[in-house]
Amino acid sequence: MEREKLIKRILTVTAISAAAGLLVLFNFIFDSYMLRIVNLAGIYITLALSLNLIYGFTGLFSLGHAGFMAIGAYTTALLTMSPAQKQMNFFLEPLVPWLANVEWSFFPALMVGGLLAAVTGFLIGAPALKLRDDYLAIATLGFAEIIRIVFTNMQSVTNGPLGLKGLPPYTNIWWTWGIAFVSILFMVYLFQGSYGRAFKAIREDEVAAEAMGINLFRHKMLSFTIGSFMAGVGGGLLGNLMGTIDPLMFRFLLAFNILLIVVLGGMGSITGTVISGIVITVLMEYLRFLDGPMDLLFFKTDGIPGLRMVIFSIMLMVVILFFQRGIMGNREFTWDFLFKPDRLKKNNVEGE
């Protein structure tokens, strides 16, 4: 048993080093377009993990992610932009003085972005988490829209519908994948522990969980607030990667993309979220050629905008038809298959 544990640990460390090595290699050989996709994948992993914590693991159907991301993105942007850059952006109405001259480095700005998102999550959660299922989804969706509308109208803080341009391009492969890695570790350890089990118990059966002495409201708030924090940090990374942000970016559609990654990967599976985060980000870009002009032997097109999404939707339907619970269901990747081949088979049969 001890030996098995040691081998597993060595394998894990090797796998992580291999992944890090791959990132170094990507950083060297990829052009900026390809690197941007790698970065996006990292950010989407963090964002999807945060939604999986709330929805997949705790069973709280929340659609408010775009709102938390907006808070993270705007906070990080306003804290990291240089005063000169800010002056150029705010030509309609000057920026409030207490923000005009701050210029922080990236990490503290990200953390404050996350914390503000968490505080908002806490304030939204307090009334909304008394609701369940679809009602909770509608309430959180509404709150996210409120956040977006407030941002559109706070001209002197957010520059309103004009958005912010020229964000310092701090986001790089180390930030995106570093934070993705920390998020993965956090989730893995959380769900090996007692609080993670309590979250899952709430998802499985609220009445029974409460009868087990679990304070439902407190645990739901914990899950929701931590998820909001991670969403805020992800939003901050995304903003500085894009270089430009405006309120329209943070519409419901953005939350929907993240929901898609969670559902396709498997609700309640960290492994699934990581796999589908990478696959979906890469596919979204790779399938772009479908929108351009094509020359198939018997049929020529000058480019049909949106064909990419058609193909993408068909693929989605195929996956959902054949893997109703996502790629991984609620299982996780382990090294067990190397040690107990027969047990893995048995688990698979049960999983069907």
Binding site: R197, K200, G213
Partner: protein
């Protein structure tokens, strides 16, 4: 002294009176039964004790504390655990995890320490795993610890629910139809099992049951409900010979 006492509790759902003026008095270490025809209000009575429902009138005392307006999780913390008539396990979690969840209410480390694995949290985790394994052994479930709860046969699911309830360190255990779906052999085993856990965990047990063999064999005192009204109370012999009870169960010509 009474461990559980209810003072004229009444539950009304709109115009329907599900339970009216129920007065229970349960002493330390007793095994008490609650019987009655279908729809008599037995589970409603349980739900009031565990605060799933707040009684329309009356109050409930546990260890001389008024618990009428407590939340269900607070009541579990005070020491009342229950099982459910329609089994409510955490289906997608393993057998061991189900019992570990029952330990969560005693965890003192905050969430962040469970992620960072502080020494105190590690001790807590180790302790709860040992305790859960012992409980599963006591209930004869040690061979299924890594199976998902939904994959267990019915009888084992019932036992797992009891193990999970015991993990919360209760003083009073409420069992809602523990013998439902069991064959006669399993029912007999259940009776000796109930006596065993009472001794071992120093419990008071209050149970709802339809299988008369179990009720009469295991309970020291019995309350009989019919249409929400308490029609009889006494030891099994008295209940068996009470004309009102016979009438409620068999009808009268």
């Amino acid at each position: 002294m009474y461990i559980l006492r209810t003072d004229n509790i009444t539950m009304k759902f709109g115009g329907l009176v599900a339970v009216s003026n129920l007065n229970l008095e349960i002493r330390q270490n007793e095994i008490v039964g609650l019987i009655g025809p279908n729809g008599a209000g037995k589970t409603t009575a349980f739900n009031m004790i565990t605060s799933q429902y707040t009684p329309t009138e009356g109050s409930i005392y546990f260890d001389n504390n008024d618990i009428t307006n407590h939340k269900p999780y607070e009541i579990t913390r005070l020491g009342i655990a229950r099982t459910f008539q329609n089994i409510k396990l955490f289906k997608e979690m393993t057998v061991l995890e189900n019992v570990l969840v029952g330990n969560h209410l005693r965890v003192k480390s905050p969430l962040i320490m469970s992620v960072l694995r502080s020494p105190r949290y590690k001790r807590e985790e180790k302790h709860m795993i040992e305790k859960s394994m012992n409980l599963l052994k006591d209930l004869g479930l040690e061979e299924s610890i890594n199976e998902k709860a939904y994959s267990l046969p019915y009888g084992k699911q019932r036992r797992l629910e009891i193990a999970r309830a015991l993990a919360t360190d209760p003083k009073l255990l409420l069992l809602d139809e523990p013998a439902a779906g069991m064959n006669p052999q399993e029912s007999i085993e259940l009776m000796s099992f109930i006596h065993e856990i009472r001794e071992k965990f120093d419990l008071t047990i209050f149970l709802i049951e339809h299988t008369m063999q179990v009720v009469m064999g295991v309970c020291e005192r019995i309350y009989v409900l019919d249409y929400g009204v308490t029609i009889a109370e006494g030891n099994p012999y008295e209940i068996q010979n009470n004309p009102k009870v016979i009438e409620a169960y068999l009808g009268v010509n």
